[in-house]
Subunit: 348 residues, 2 copies
């Protein structure tokens, strides 16, 4: 069932992009290229959000793949839209090691004889529009879902909350960067929950459950689980972003430090006597590998690494505890418990 | 009826923003400020799109203000979203003479001790998020509309087309700017139709008609009228952007020239022998008032001003002709004929 369901998401996405490309061809090559870029932006991820939708739906006895697949696709496109607009905010030209929409449209502009300033405009324009198109389709899919009004309203409310809270988290992430002092750990946790956990875990899990006709009480439990496990994932990501093995995670271990990202590690270290020794390196754009090692030693020695690891495990454990109720069917509890374990036991 | 309907749109928007601000207050002052900015961005316009929805709805006998008002609001928020994201693309910090979201969040960043680079990030982040929130609400309103599925699907399809075609037009607008030669007039017209006419006139008119239960044939007529009148408005705007009276239009008469905007005036002039004398001034960032006068003289002398004026009047006349069918109730025909006239008879 799981493999069939995931394959259905891929098929549905491919069909959507093929139709959009055809439709775009009436408006010229650049617009077709934009849709190619949007499809590329939506591939290569782990399909975490569709997996949440599908797991919750099947977990409460849902069996109609034709009904649940579009909902899974909707949350994946929401994710795509957020990533694309996030890249505009961060001025990134690449994601997952390859040129993103901005990078590709910047190259495209230069190939068409544009000046570098114009190339920047092509990049921003294409990225903003692609995000808008993906966001629009995420909404449209739920709006068209053939379910009765009450259920559709609840799904729409979940999507609305996902958009509203993620925007709050994204804004907090950017405004926090201007703070001269490290954030408190509680602030970091709140931002992680808002920016990522709600739209990536809480909302997709609850959407699958709503579609399956689960009880309100069960849906509440999934929400709590989703927020906790989402934060556990993000805390682990923050650890891997400094202490991971790039060969296995595919993630730089200096980028977060160079950027001065306000992670839980920094928040914890910021409240210790080690901070004056760490602070000069945080946000240092040309941080060297030996300097990064110095920072790592301090973060380890002051107890921040241990504390944040504990915090991640604590969140994962609380997430699993939340499932300990007859409201959650045993098989779903098993799936989600495994998920919570994987949140904190990833390769370093 | 008209005044009551328009007042209803204002009330609905105010209610929406008040609720959003309250909800945002759980996420800190910056997020409340973002919603303030979004509300400001949605005010001060002429409510053209709501007026189209309301006119078509009432024109076909619709009388349920509680039903049509949200549809009018949806198209207004779509417009707000496009304006906001347009400003990011154009890197503008003001609109209608006052600081826009980017301008206000840039100031806000500096007041919170951010560096200028960070202030730019606040500006872009706030603008992108605000546009996403407005776009999301535009979709959500139609998705929640209490009408039967068939009618909702048709409204959703109109919104979908509006988003899809506007994105194509916006992209074309930016990619066209890199072209070394002036565009042809036909290309300029196609871009105007895509970027503005479809979402501002065609779609809102058709949405009002769909909601009112008009026939497919009548809805097609409104679509044709909307595209033609939308282009007539834009052509007139392009003329006013070079030959208007800033004191009456509130519009600069050098900005388009300095920016090198690819208007129908430039397209027409570009195909005449006057072009070599005009070209050096188009896109000249520091174009002086006397230089602008030189350009105006050339554009007038080569026949471009007359030709584009004729083109605008021709579009308006064709729009009125399209209405000459018993499919369109007499009163609606009167309203729309007046609209078409106002498209081309605006103060210079």
């Amino acid at each position: 069932m799981r493999e069939i369901a995931t394959a259905g998401v891929e098929t549905e996405l491919q069909r959507y992009f093929a139709a959009a490309r055809l439709r775009a061809s009436d408006y010229g090559d650049h617009y077709v290229a934009l849709w190619d870029c949007l499809e590329q932006a939506s591939t290569g991820g782990k399909r975490v959000r569709p997996a949440m939708v599908l797991a919750a739906y099947a977990g409460f006895g849902g069996r109609d793949l034709a009904l649940v697949t579009p909902v899974a696709v909707s949350f994946e496109l929401l994710h795509t839209a957020f990533l694309i607009h996030d890249d505009v905010i961060d001025r990134d030209l690449a994601r997952r090691g390859i040129a993103n929409i901005a990078g590709r449209f910047s190259d495209r502009a230069l190939a068409h004889g544009a000046e570098s300033g114009q190339a920047g405009a092509w990049a921003v324009t294409a990225s903003i529009l692609a995000g808008d198109l993906a966001l629009s389709e995420a909404h449209r899919i739920l709006a068209r879902l053939p379910v009765e009004a009450g259920r559709r309203m609840r799904l729409l409310d979940l999507l609305d909350r996902a958009v509203f809270v993620s925007a709050a988290g994204e804004l907090a992430d950017v405004t926090n960067a201007a703070r001269p002092q490290p954030l408190g750990v509680a602030e970091v946790l709140a931002t992680l929950e808002q920016k990522t956990a709600v739209y990536s875990f809480e909302a997709p899990l609850q959407a699958g459950a709503v579609l399956s006709g689960a009880t309100d009480a069960a849906i509440d439990v999934l929400g709590r689980f989703g927020r906790l496990v989402g934060v556990a994932f993000q805390l682990t990501d923050d650890i891997l972003g400094v202490f991971g093995d790039p060969a296995r995670t595919g993630k730089s271990v200096v980028a977060d430090l160079r950027e001065g990202k306000q992670t839980a590690l920094i928040a914890h270290a910021g409240a210790t006597t080690a901070w004056p020794a760490i602070a000069p390196y945080i946000g240092k754009a040309d941080l060297s590998a030996p300097e990064a090692d110095v920072v790592r030693d301090h973060i380890r020695a002051c107890g921040a690494l241990q504390a944040v690891g504990d915090l991640a495990r604590d969140h994962a454990a609380k997430a699993v505890e939340a499932l300990d109720t007859p409201l959650i069917p045993a098989q779903l509890r098993g799936t989600l418990t495994t998920l919570a374990g994987s949140a904190v036991n990833r390769f370093r």
